[in-house]
Every structure is written in structure tokens, then in C-alpha cells.
Amino acid sequence: MAGQSDPHLSIFSAPELEFLAEDEMVEVVPNIRMEALHVICGDFGPFFPQIAKVPLWLALALKKRDKCTIRTPEWMSVERLTQVLEAERESPREFQPLPFHYVEISRLLFDHARDDIPDIYMVRSLIEDIRYVRFHKVETGLETISGRTHAVKLKNLSAMEVNIVRPFMVRALQAFYKHDSPQMIQQPQTMGSRRPQVVDRGSRRDLRPR
């Protein structure tokens, strides 16, 4: 039902995240002709056998009825993903830019458009590796949360990763805030050598000098 996902846990259920992801645009090549669609979220078409940009839900609906082929998004190619994976492995503090809904989009395409993805097994294993490396970074980052963390910066994290880590992170931060806050005011402001370190760390940093 519409409002039944437990608001106390991850806020969004996985299907709800998928719902959000389905509004992302993809390119399709229809194999039929169809007149323009004027739906609430926009106007699409008219459709000829040439590349068209439509939302993912529309593309999947067409694909299920065999009315189009979906063009793999540019970021889902083997070369691009290999680059991203290497970059992820090389920078232990930063996350590489990926589409916000990359997990959901790739999952949906694997499920419904297998024949449209070249080298699908390679792509699949690359994406799994990327997810693994990124999540490992998230976990390592979680260890650095302390009482003096008043904000966390997570550049380039994706929707699914955010949702998974949200319950733990929120409760941890809150517990620290509750138990540590009277001490925060008394901490001496030691800047100096710590400053450069704060600037260095790209993805996650204590935004207050220790």
C-alpha cells in the first residue's frame, strides 16, 4: 500500500526506490510507429524507428510487449565501468560519480532487457564489484564517526546505498550527539596540523577540527 513502508527504518522500501528510478530517461529504438503520448509527467513521441528518449517505466513497458529495443546507457559499457572500478579501488576516500539510481537502473535492465546489453555477464560482474568496493568504503567511513562529527559529507553516493546505510548511520550519529554534546563545547579548538587533513579527505570528513 502507498504509505505502509515502515518510516522508522530506511524510509524508502526497495520497490519505492525502484519507482523513483523508473523516472530516469533512457534511449530506446521503437520498432513500431506510434503517435505522441501526452501523459501527466510529460509529452513523448511521436514514435518512429529511430532513437527516442523516454522514461524508464515507459521503455520497460514497451520492451515487455516487444515494441522496442533499449539502448544501454553510456555509463553501463564495459570500458566505462572498468574505469570506474579502477578509480574506486584507487581512491579509498572518494566515491566515483555514478548515476544516482545506478543500482536500480542496472537491475531493471538486467531483468527485462538482457538481450539489449552487450557483454551482459561482464557488465553484471563489474557492477557487483563496484557495489562491493563502494560499500566497503562506506563501512570504513562509518568507523570514523565520533562524538565530534556534526555533519557527514557523502559525495556521489547512490540512492540504494544511502537507503541501506541510513538506519544505522542516523542512529549512530544521534547516539553520539546525545551523549557527547555537553563535552563538545568544552573541547579546545586545536587547529594547526589537523587542518590539512580535513581538507584532504574528499568524501567524508569531520567538518569540525579536532
Binding site: 556534526h150 542516523v170 567538518l207
Partner: protein, 226 residues
């Protein structure tokens, strides 16, 4: 619908709002999605988007009629099913948005009716909160428990007569941390009262902050909860 069906000037500003939204390339669905996400992530109830909900309902109704027409005229099944999908998706957003708000109202009904959060409710929500929530709950608590407690402990709002504040009223946890993103850079932003915590909010970066600190930004629409 009760709200938004007012005088001519209200109508005019609604149209202007739509035009502005269209000009900026945001459809009503996008706006509704944003309102839904913000409402889900925020611990307290946010301002009711009366104009947006009204417009969404009108568009959905229009689409429903279109779909009916199409089915009657025997338009291609595929086209009908695509329109139906979009209809279902928009309906889901609208319903989920309203349901989340109802959940929050049910949870914090007494707190909402006592503070200026009451103004964030739509007329129908206010009616719901008053007659279905607070009245019934008060009556129930009084009949089943409060009337049998010793004198001095019978209030719904206070633990005992000697309490200075209304400590029996559950309040939303404003100190909770939320994930958020800003569309445009906000720059150095002060998180707390003592000025110790300054965060540089860059556009499109994801932050985890205390809700209390960014309340004002959320209200003015400059920050989105994720």
C-alpha cells in the same frame, strides 16, 4: 476540494505558479515527487502543498477521463495501457504523500493541535485531526484509564498537576539526522547556536545533517531531503 478553490486572485497565482514551474522545466509530477520525498524524510509534518495537490488531482482526473474515452473508442491497447501506467504512477505518488501526512498526524496529533504546526495542515486534515484523532483519543483515554487514576494525574497533557510542561505529549524528534542535497550552493552554513559548527554546502553533494539545523532551508525549498 476545500483549499485552493478561493477567489480569482488565488486562481491567478496558481496559474502563475504552474507557469513558473513549467518555465523552469519542472512538471507537477516532479514537484509532487519532491514533496513526497521531503515529507517521508522529515520527522515533523511539513507545509501542505495545497495548490500542487489540487493541480495533480485535476490532471489525474483529466487523464482518467481520457483513458475511459480511449477504451470506449477502441484505441490501441498499448497506448491505453501506457496512459494507464502513468495514471497509476501519479496516483501512487499522490496517495503516498497524503498517507504519510496522515501517519504523522495520527502520531503527533496532540502536539500538532497545540502548536503552530496546525497551520501546516489542509482543511480536511484539520477536520480529520480534530474529530477522528484528538477527540476520539481523548475520550478513549479518559474512559478507560484517566478517570480511574487518582486526582492530580488525570490529565492527558501532563503527567501530574505538578508538571510544569505538557510532558505527556509525544513530540517529533527534531534532532534526528537526515540525508539531504542542495540544488544550488548555500555556502557556509551555521549548524548550531554556538557558531562552532560551520558546514560548506556545495550544490549536488549529499550531506547528513541534523534536521533542526536545516529546518528553515527545507521550508524555503532550498534543500531537498533524500
Amino acid at each position: 476540494m476545500a483549499s485552493g478553490s478561493g477567489s480569482g486572485s488565488e486562481r491567478w497565482s496558481e496559474d502563475l505558479e504552474t507557469e513558473v514551474a513549467m518555465a523552469m522545466g519542472t512538471t507537477d509530477v516532479e514537484l509532487l515527487k519532491r514533496a513526497w520525498r521531503n515529507e517521508k524524510a522529515a520527522p515533523e509534518i511539513l507545509q501542505f502543498e495545497a495548490a500542487l495537490v489540487l493541480r495533480a488531482r485535476e490532471q489525474i482526473q483529466l487523464l482518467e477521463e481520457t483513458v475511459e474515452e480511449f477504451t470506449e473508442n477502441g484505441v490501441d491497447d498499448l497506448v491505453v495501457s501506457l496512459y494507464q501506467m502513468d495514471l497509476d504512477r501519479s496516483l501512487f505518488l499522490l496517495r503516498s504523500y497524503l498517507r504519510i501526512r496522515l501517519q504523522k498526524i495520527e502520531k503527533y496529533m496532540i502536539h500538532i493541535s497545540k502548536t503552530n504546526l496546525w497551520n501546516r495542515l489542509s482543511e480536511q486534515e484539520q477536520r480529520f485531526a480534530k474529530s477522528r484523532c484528538t477527540d476520539i483519543m481523548e475520550k478513549h483515554l479518559e474512559q478507560s484509564v484517566l478517570s480511574r487514576l487518582p486526582y492530580g494525574y488525570q490529565s492527558i497533557l501532563k503527567q501530574s498537576i505538578s508538571s510544569e510542561e505538557d510532558d505527556m505529549v509525544p513530540e517529533p524528534q527534531l534532532d534526528t539526522f537526515v540525508f539531504c542535497k542542495t540544488k544550488h550552493a548555500v555556502g557556509a552554513f551555521q549548524l548550531d547556536d554556538t557558531g562552532d559548527e560551520i558546514v560548506d554546502l556545495v550544490a549536488d553533494d549529499l550531506y547528513v545533517l541534523r534536521y533542526k539545523s536545516i529546518r528553515g532551508l527545507v521550508e524555503s525549498g532550498r534543500i531537498d531531503l533524500v
